[in-house]
Amino acid sequence: MKFPLAWNRLWAIVLKEFVQMRRDRITFAMMVGIPVMQLILFGFAINTDPKRLPTVVFDASPSAYTRSLVASLENSGYYDVLPPPETVAEAREAMAIGEVQFIVSIPPDFSRQLVRGEKPALLLEADASDPAATGNAISALANLNQSALQHDLKGPLARLGTAPPPFEIRIQRNYNPEGITQYNIVPGLMGTILTMTMIMMTGMAMTRELERGTLENLLAFPVHPLEVMIGKILPYIIVGYIQVTVILVAAYFLFDVPIAGSLPLLLACVLVFLAANLTVGMMFSTIAKSQLQAMQMTFFFFLPSMLLSGFMFPFRGMPHWAQIIGEGLPLTHFLRIVRGIMLKGNGWAETWPNVWPLLVFMGVVMLIGFKRYRKTLD
């Protein structure tokens, strides 16, 4: 580097970008509009409390008790009990293709043990790949446990009807061992929205100069490539924070998502994540020849981010190779950070293992972008 970075030149770029952003009303509206729209779609329009989910029951100890149990499953409104196939294996296949959401298995000596007060267990297998779909049904079952047999347990058995519950429900969440709740959606949305908008905006910010012919002037000015890159990144960090604010406020007030951990820690991690994405956008803009190409590259990066980061599918449910790719994506680490801080109340020590990969990622991408940055029109 021949000459050091100068703040006045950096500031000149930042100011210019802000004015341009302000003039480009549609883009600006989009940047605030996307999070709002996504939140509304995910939060309200998509039903997170679906009823009458397809269920099959394998009752190995048919009795009045188990019949009441099945009836109360249906009465809860969450379960639609279908005629069971021949074997449990067939039922599992039906679950794999999504035709059956729950499999209830009642063991052979359930009724006998129940009467003896031995607290037997029944097994509920849930297709929890879409946690929002099964979450409420599962919690409804917990209540059933208390009330379903109240009616049947009379006389000397009445004592079994009072707490503690007369039988135990073992829940096995298939396809989704983490048992994610619907709280996951909003924190996850934050990461995906930021990934998409940040990469796209910076990717286009630089190619716009090329496309509109202003690059020739910009290159003729005595301004260092790093000043241009940083100057174009800074305004979008502020935009990113506006998006984060919108999402967090909505998460907290509209969807009652708890923020268990420290908000400043969360915001600090957001900064790292924003910067990582913005450098990706910057790097793309050094490769793309037009704004359209920059947009296409954004989606090329965005799709695996969404699919392999643990947003769409549970991370540990993915095949090994997909997990390896996922580890290389910033969104994967950010999702763990956000879920950790917001839902589990993680502190700095638990967060750091996912922060440093973001920093490494950012450093590598920045280096590539800097090497590829056009210093001439060649």
Partner: protein, 304 residues
């Protein structure tokens, strides 16, 4: 040596793919000199100017701009050169004032506000200061670009067709300004297709197909061309064809109510003109236009 020349380059070449766009260009522009850069469309003027200010890396050749090496010191060159691009390259979604303010900040100008204001007043832009650049007419865009490239008081101006589309009054004001700056020791390399502007340069270079064909002062170029010219005072449209067929005549240009006839062999043309009965003609001065058209026709006859 570097102290004397604002631009001193030799053997600059540049190819795009297999096409050699600039071929061994050597130029010397003295301090305080206005150097005109002429040539047909696509001859490599813009490419040459871009190499001078570090926007393109020459494939071959070397030299200095303001004493700085064009290959390795382009950062220094950029600080002291004002480059005006041929195509308008300012931000259309920024106002005139915002564009100039941006430039002033990049050059870290002291008294930025006053400098910007003065720059706008010099070129009559002050009334439109807050108009978005994208909504300006072509000529006003050109003025904005001019104001911007002179804002930081560069020691060398590289102007690529600065007055294309600018009205005559503004063009004259602009050239007066250029001469005033040259008087202060600022050097100017300006490309143009206007002959009256070429005539106002101290020296000229003419390039075609990337090759430098001629250079020197306007007078020297006219003398070198060896052309003799005559004005024929007649506006009969049928006459043009007959004049063209006369021996020795190379160019016939209709200009309102007279024809300008020129060619290398003045005596031969004069004989021919005299042979046409009742024709009023007189010897005239050869213009730069005839010289350049002659140069162009020569290369078309013998392409490189």
């Amino acid at each position: 040596m570097n102290g004397e020349y604002a631009i001193d380059v030799h053997g600059l070449s540049k190819s795009f793919g297999h096409k050699r766009v600039v071929n061994g260009l050597s130029l010397r522009v003295e301090k305080g000199e206005i150097y005109g850069f002429l040539g047909p469309n696509g001859s490599g003027k813009t490419t040459s100017i871009r190499m001078l200010c570090g926007l393109l890396t020459p494939d071959e050749g070397s030299g200095t701009c303001l004493g700085f090496d064009v290959r390795s010191q382009s950062a220094e060159i950029k600080k002291q050169v004002g480059y005006m691009t041929q195509r308008f390259s300012f931000y259309e979604d920024l106002s005139i004032r915002e564009n100039l303010d941006f430039v002033a900040r990049l050059y870290a100008m002291p008294n930025r506000k006053q400098t910007v204001q003065a720059g706008m007043e010099d070129l009559g832009l002050a009334d439109r200061a807050d108009q978005l650049a994208g909504t300006l007419s072509g000529g006003w865009k050109q003025r904005l670009a001019l104001a911007a490239c002179m804002l930081h008081r560069p020691r060398l101006l590289l102007l690529d067709e600065p007055t294309a589309g600018v009205d005559p009054k503004a063009r004259r004001d602009f050239w007066d300004e250029i001469h005033r700056l040259a008087g202060q020791g600022i050097s100017v390399l300006v490309s143009t297709h206007y002959m009256d502007e070429a005539a106002r340069c101290h020296r000229l270079a003419y390039i075609a197909y990337g090759n430098l064909l001629a250079s020197g002062s306007p007078e020297a170029l006219i003398a070198q061309s060896g052309l003799a010219s005559f004005d024929v005072k007649d506006d009969d449209p049928a006459l043009a064809e007959r004049l063209r067929k006369l021996p020795g005549v190379q160019q016939v240009v209709a200009m309102g109510n007279l024809y300008s006839v020129s060619g290398r062999d003045g005596a031969l043309i004069e004989q021919g003109l005299a042979s046409l009965p009742g024709l009023r003609f007189e010897r005239a001065e050869t213009g730069l236009e005839q010289v350049f058209i002659q140069l162009m026709e020569n290369v078309q006859d013998a392409p490189p």
